[in-house]
């Protein structure tokens, strides 16, 4: 059994935001404008965990300081906030450049029970692209919010469809935007891989997304591809019901040649498209990959002064697994502590634990699910890293324990305040080496 630590449910050092943090899901859609129907500090708070103190990502378009917000005050609590929201939506449509406006209602609005749908419906009936989402912060994490917002957009904006499906067109349900500091770079790498393998991709979020038109095309896709242990499965289930669209669930984000090649073959096989382009691409990429790996091997084999070997990963389900698998199965480091902090729903936990148990024939890990950073740090503190320098892939919160253990902390998840992420990726064919560069740059030399 995986260990689950339950006490008061209190959290010190949070590794996720709340439901209304899904404003950043909206901001990640080209032309998407979140309208925060919540308190004055809500967007500020989410911004820091998801963007600023998460690799100092920044934001584009209607994120950051630009998010329209009701800044719900005492009068709105007492007398209701409908009028204020109506004014806010109207003025947002006038002031902001945007193709899709999503009203996210936070704790206050949900608790006082404002009839948000009736306000939004007036605009929908006039043909304005406005949808609403019930994202009271007490409903869960920003990952929960991500799925709620996607459902709202599909139900209220994308709408019904019973036309043709297009073979080879994929809806990509991948990382939650902004949640991982490298999401922008990771999307680039995964989309590159899928396109080169012969697919057309509805990217939906980030630099290469096609904006709201692409969202309108969701029902036309041949299938939904979920690349995550759990986030996005609910969306795929919805789309299966709504558009009779099947989905392929691949819980593992591939890192390195072997995993990425296996990933491509799995998707191509499932889609039943021509294998020639993908096999040609695999061959090219593999050749490049091993050219670089051969160079790396020289350093890795004969660096005189010691390299870290035993490692821990603290993070969300997706990356904790991806990094653990790559570093143990492909590089031969020893996983000694893996902690998942993103509170996956109960129905996925056994499956996630199984993934860790069967990383490869020789590598099996018992993963822990802990949300309270205090307990995460206790668990890490009590971990034996052997004789070498402990390598910890984690967050800013693990800095004190890493320092106590004289370990090497590489911040890879939220919050991260010791890294600046611009266009970076640790996944796929190309990102694997960036990860190795990051780890070993921090290791070598006279530091």
């Amino acid at each position: 059994m995986a260990k689950t630590n339950v006490k008061s449910g209190t959290i010190v050092h949070p590794h996720y935001g709340c439901t209304v943090g899904a404003a950043y899901t909206v901001a990640a859609i080209k032309g998407g404008v979140p309208i925060a129907n919540c308190g004055p500090g809500c967007m500020y708070k989410q911004f820091f965990l998801l963007s600023f103190d998460n690799g100092f990502q920044g934001s584009a378009g209607a994120g950051g300081g630009n998010v329209p917000s009701a800044n719900v005050g005492e009068n709105d609590i007492v007398f209701g906030g409908k009028k204020k929201l109506d004014e806010l939506i109207k003025s947002s449509l006038a002031v902001m450049k945007g193709d899709l406006f999503v009203v996210l209602t936070g704790c206050s609005g949900e608790l006082i029970g404002d009839d948000v749908p009736s306000v939004v419906r007036q605009y929908q009936e006039k043909g304005y692209p406005v949808v609403y989402a019930d994202t009271g912060g007490f409903k869960g994490t920003n990952l929960t919010g991500h799925e709620i917002v996607i459902e709202s957009i599909i139900e209220q904006y994308v709408g019904d469809y019973d036309g043709e499906k297009e073979k080879g067109l994929i809806n990509l349900w991948f990382e939650t935007p902004y949640f991982n500091q490298n999401w922008r770079g990771d999307y680039l790498e995964l989309v590159r891989i899928l396109r080169a393998s012969g697919f057309k991709v509805n990217v939906l979020f980030g630099a290469q997304s096609g904006g709201v038109e692409e969202w309108k095309n969701i029902p036309k896709a041949q299938f939904n591809l979920v690349v995550s242990p759990w986030v996005g499965v609910k969306t795929a289930e919805l789309l299966e019901r709504k558009y009779h669209q099947p989905y392929l669930h691949i819980p593992e984000i591939p890192i390195g040649e072997e995993a990425t090649t296996a990933f491509i073959r799995k998707v191509v096989e499932y889609a039943g498209i021509d294998k020639e382009p993908s096999e040609k691409f695999i061959k090219e990429e593999a050749e490049l990959y091993y050219y670089f790996l051969e160079h790396f091997a020289e350093f890795f084999s004969e660096y005189w002064f010691g390299l870290p070997s035993q490692f821990a990963v603290i993070g969300d389900s997706s990356y904790t697994f991806a990094y653990t698998k790559f570093l143990s199965d492909q590089i031969g480091l020893i996983p000694v502590k893996q902690i998942i902090t993103d509170n996956p729903p109960k129905r996925f936990r056994e499956g996630i634990s199984d993934l860790f148990r069967h990383i490869s024939d020789e590598v099996s890990v018992e993963v822990e699910f802990i949300e309270d950073g205090y307990l995460v740090e206790e668990s890490l503190r009590n971990t034996d890293f052997g004789s070498g320098v402990p390598l910890i892939l984690g967050t800013t919160w693990e800095a004190d324990v890493a320092a106590e253990k004289k370990g090497l902390l590489i911040e890879v998840g939220p919050p991260t305040t010791e890294e600046v992420a611009i266009n970076k990726s640790y996944i796929g064919y190309r990102g694997a080496f960036t990860l190795l560069e990051r780890i070993y740059t921090a290791t070598v030399g006279g530091k």
Partner: protein, 520 residues
């Protein structure tokens, strides 16, 4: 008798009620000075009858305030409490809230670590607890969860005090944090301090400073102080310890509060000879409480920015500690010491204009510093305006001091971090850079081609050396204009063409009916 701040109450009267604070206004600084009517308000604070608006001891006139249908994200009092009380070294803050209220812990953690390192204290992560309330807690109440959390805090960290902060959701469902604090205090054996800082309660986040300071004054500060005649309280944030150097010639040691302080440092506030601050917006409440309830006088002087105000500030302190003669010598030698470099900087800044976007009275100080450096200032945005401070002190009318000593500011805007107004704001003023505190504005200024000095270390401009420090940094910032020009050439603003073509940043306040033409 002056109306005293009431320490019997656990909650604080909001700034808008206490001080007449506004968050939206646009005009000349001199007009705002006049409209604020500091002198009448000051007398009312002191409990004196006045002929001013409202008459007698009644409330002062309300300052006109613009109202706008469009708002962008901003900050709240709950976040301010986090950044104050959550940044103590040996006390613990519990946020009684869903997890989202704790999402900016990492931001104040970074500020905390920077602050600790600037003050030469061991650098460590902050330890704020969040009760992490879920939907069922909203339905069934969360008091037991809070009780258990208080016990957990005691068990895990054994802190010197435990603070509880209220959030929007816990205030709406009616969590009684006062009773729980009273109930648990004997059990845990340390002060348990309730802080009523739910985000919706005040229209401006700075009420959160008052709430934090109120809690400290009410339950932490020593009731039976032993005077320390060389100790001065400086109400501050995380700034570098420049005050020690500035005050050393007066024989004073600095007691910084609240950020990065320990319980004992807060407790000894009543033992100090005086209280001062780098910013009355931040420090006035604490200084006034300490004066009214603990007999610690506050410095009745302008803030220490620029030559004249720094002189007066030092003289006011010297008077309290009886070092007038030495201080005159000190002031004279300091002027002589810094003047050559200031003159060089003035040469370099000929024809340069700047713009300030910060909290209220801090902006007044920063504009003085720019003017000392010969930099033109045609405009400023302050995030709120207090027409008076809690002290009602004779010499703390900072905006008037600015206008009287350094001239008017043509476009003085009160606006709470509303980035969408920047295209209009920067069309009507000339500026080569902005100085900014608070998130959300600098990125839009950047796209308009204007580089920003994000003044995270708020003590940089303080005192005589402060002018030089700001000048040196600005030389670096001005060079960044090349970056901003690249950005301006290639990255567009997220606002509609219609909005960008408007000229008045407050168009929507003055003519909300235009929206009916745009959105039908």
């Amino acid at each position: 008798m002056a109306k005293k701040i009431n320490l019997e109450m656990s909650s604080v009267e909001n700034r808008e009620m206490r001080l007449g604070t506004i968050i939206a206004w646009d005009g000349k600084a001199s007009e705002l000075v006049e409209a604020s009517d500091y002198d009448t308000r000051k007398e009312k604070k002191r409990g004196n009858s006045t002929k001013g608006c409202g008459g007698g001891k009644g409330k002062a006139c309300r300052l006109c305030e613009l109202r706008t249908p469009f708002n962008q994200q901003t900050m709240c009092a709950n976040a301010i409490v986090e950044c104050q009380i959550g940044n103590l070294t040996d006390c613990i803050l519990i946020q009684h809230s869903p997890i989202g209220c704790a999402a900016d812990n990492a931001w104040f953690n970074l500020a905390f670590k920077m602050g600790l390192s600037r003050r030469n204290k061991p650098v460590q992560n902050l330890q704020i607890f969040c009760t992490n309330l879920l939907e069922k807690d909203m339905v069934f109440g969360a008091s037991d969860k809070l009780r258990q959390t208080i016990r957990e805090v005691k068990e895990r960290f054994n802190p010197k005090a435990i603070f509880i902060s209220m959030s929007c959701s816990t205030a709406i469902i009616g969590e009684d944090i006062d009773s729980i604090a009273d109930e648990l205090e004997p059990e845990v054996g340390v002060p348990v301090v309730p802080l009523h800082c739910e985000g919706f309660r005040s229209k401006h986040w700075s009420t959160g400073f008052d709430i934090s300071q109120h809690g400290v004054a009410r339950q932490i500060v020593k009731r039976n102080p032993t005077k320390q005649n060389d100790l001065i309280n400086i109400v501050a944030l995380w700034g570098t310890d420049y005050f020690t150097d500035l005050l050393k010639p007066l024989g004073l040691r600095v007691n910084y509060m609240i950020d990065t302080a320990s319980y004992d440092e807060l407790a000894q506030a009543s033992e100090a000879v005086a209280t001062a601050t780098f910013c009355h917006t931040l420090g006035s409440y604490m200084a006034t409480v300490l004066e009214q309830h603990f007999g610690v006088p506050q410095i009745d002087a302008p803030q220490p920015y620029g030559f004249a105000a720094t002189d007066e500030w030092l003289r006011a302190i010297a008077k309290i500690v009886g070092k007038e003669a030495e201080t005159e010598e000190y002031i004279k030698s300091e002027h002589e010491r810094v003047m050559p470099r200031i003159l060089e900087l003035r040469e370099k800044f000929k024809g340069v204009n700047g713009f300030i976007m910060t909290g209220s009275s801090y902006s007044h100080g920063l504009i003085s510093v720019l003017k000392e450096l010969g930099i033109g200032v045609q405009g400023s945005i302050v995030f709120h305006h207090d027409p008076v401070y809690d002290s009602g002190a004779e010499n703390q009318n900072t905006l008037k001091y600015l206008v009287d000593n350094y001239g008017d500011v043509e476009h003085f805007t009160v606006s709470k971090t509303q980035a969408y107004q920047l295209p209009q704001v920067f069309r009507r003023v000339k500026t080569d850079f902005v100085i900014i505190r608070h998130q959300g504005l600098a990125p839009e200024a950047a796209k308009l081609g204007i580089p920003a000095l994000a003044l995270g270390d708020e003590h940089i401009p303080v005192g005589y050396d402060g002018m030089i420090r700001i000048g040196e940094i600005l030389l670096d910032i001005l060079a960044r204009k090349r970056f901003n020009q690249v950005l301006k050439r290639h990255v567009s603003l997220p606002y509609s063409d219609w909005w960008q073509s408007q000229d008045d940043p407050f168009l929507l306040s003055k003519h909300p009916e235009v929206l009916d033409e745009i959105v039908k």
